[in-house]
Symmetry: C2
Amino acid sequence: MQKTKRLLEIEKIVSEANISTQEELLKKLKGKGINCTQATLSRNLRQLGVGRIPNGAGGYKYSLPENIRNSASSPVKLSIVPAILDIIEAKGLMVIKTIPGNASNTASYIDGSGRYEIAGTIAGDDTVLLIPRDRITLQQVRTCLEIILPGIHDQIRKRG
Amino acid sequence: MQKTKRLLEIEKIVSEANISTQEELLKKLKGKGINCTQATLSRNLRQLGVGRIPNGAGGYKYSLPENIRNSASSPVKLSIVPAILDIIEAKGLMVIKTIPGNASNTASYIDGSGRYEIAGTIAGDDTVLLIPRDRITLQQVRTCLEIILPGIHDQIRKRG
DNA sequence: TTGTTTTTTGCATATTTATACAATATTTCT
DNA sequence: AGAAATATTGTATAAATATGCAAAAAACAA
């Protein structure tokens, strides 16, 4: 999908550059070959939790929510993605299979992301059960996972 | 001044209520007997560093910057205000006299506030030297101190 | 005080952001 | 596959926010 790639790129740009309007972000995206309108951007920024805050020097800047900011380059994340072996969707829930012993890590990382879409997780030894909130689709959860653990779905597809 | 009282009230309301537009905040202020226009509010919110961020449920909410949020009900603050004995302004700088041994605490609290107006502080045993940034007036620093240490000026006035 | 400078404010409006709605595209189900 | 349901997007526009400017208020100096 086009959207997921755009969300990831938005996160990247926002974390690296000083963006002060959506039009500005729009141009940067265009520069990377991603085209959309301001309206879409507004919706995407909301979904990502990106806020607009005073920059302390008389202007404004878009800013990632704290949980993403903290985890953006987290070494923990790097160890989690490879530990995920498979994702199975069933009964509106998501079952994440990991290398034995890694479920707990993975679950607490997902919990820590603070994503609204996820009601909670339960971890065994090599299995995480992810419970989405009411009215959240598995598609939305997939996008959400892609945001907090970039590349996760691609990686699983390659393995399978 | 009217402005200082308004700034403090804005902080209070924003930290306690879920404000999603400036018009909404305007009404709450009016309810407390503070009248101003949306334009003024916009300027005040910028000065306070208050940002507008997605609330995770499809809407938006105004949010204090982290440093204020953290310190808003900090017990440290409560111990600092009474330790401040006098504030002397000289040569564009501010000299804060404290109870002996309390300068270091005070200085690090002020530094930690992350206020743009303040370039830095140096602490002795009972004296803090506060250096404002270029182009920042002492009046602006006074307002700023009132924000991070509410009541400080009143208290000193009563003592004197 | 009175004049001078700086700050604060409102008004009007420009800029920026969000959204209703219709059209597409994607996913899901059979 | 094709139909039905969901999700995504752009257009146009509404809603919300920021700002230039002039007036008023406050702070300052002599």
